[in-house]
Symmetry: C2
Subunit: 159 residues, 2 copies
């Protein structure tokens, strides 16, 4: 089970964009520099965040990204769902209905499979935890120097 | 993010093996029939469960599988970890240290990245939920007819 790099990139970019909000919109190339990421690939990774209304994207030479809403209103679940989709990680293919189950009455399968339900409860716990944390929490939990260095780097000050 | 079919197959097989414990060991082909699964492929999927001490495998013509311990002592986490591995789904590549972070003192990165910690908390919630449910719980949560049909099917009684 693997969560793609798009989630890591997306969350770090959300935090950086929040810190640079007074400079927004931030061009893809400038945002990519902050983490030494390949700009074209980053652009692709941020597209789902734009599509899902987490980032605003302004086209053109002076265009770029900004957060579409306040950091308190962007949860980790929002970002993970945008990048990874909303489909459950566990996919029940109803093997209980096959073989030994084929002879059973259809009504016996009215309730979802207990294995799918058990796996679903665990995913719900994961989603709840992600939904309870916001980009604002990530900002608050960062090292006190993190925002300063991002802002300095963006402004091109080396000292 | 996708959990492979090995988890679904593995959990259903654990439950079926528990119901058929008095017939054990259960040959791969017979176990595969119960869910209409391809026997060779099922064998491959069950290997990690044998390796992790969840199933016992007896070789030979009269060989097969049985649970290696009581259903109460096999958690969903055991099966998921055996099949999917114990690596975190979210992999932090420390992009915070690059670009804007490159100028920062190493000591500032002594604490794990807040984004990795936040993602880790969610995975912990998922793992805890999986660790709190056992194969015995799956058996108890099954439809009352499920075990009867598996046992009948295995015994070859059609009525």
């Amino acid at each position: 089970m693997v969560i793609g790099e798009g989630v890591e990139w997306g969350l770090h970019c959300c935090v950086a964009l929040a810190w640079l909000d007074d400079h927004a919109p931030i061009a893809t190339a400038r945002l990519a520099e902050i983490f030494e990421l390949p700009p074209e690939y980053l652009k692709k990774r941020l597209q789902p965040l734009v599509r899902e209304g987490i980032l605003d994207s302004t086209p053109g030479a002076r265009g770029g990204y900004r957060l579409a809403r306040a950091p308190e209103r962007i949860t980790l679940m929002d970002v993970v769902a945008a990048v990874e989709g909303r489909t459950d990680a566990f996919r029940c293919t109803e093997i209980r209905r096959r073989g030994a189950g084929a002879a059973r009455a259809r009504a016996e399968f009215a309730e979802p499979c207990g294995i799918a339900r058990a796996m679903g409860r665990a995913e719900l716990a994961w989603r709840r935890e992600l939904a309870g944390q916001t980009v604002a929490d990530l900002m608050a939990g960062s090292h006190e120097n993190a925002s300063k260095y991002v802002r300095r780097f963006y402004a091109g000050v080396t000292g």
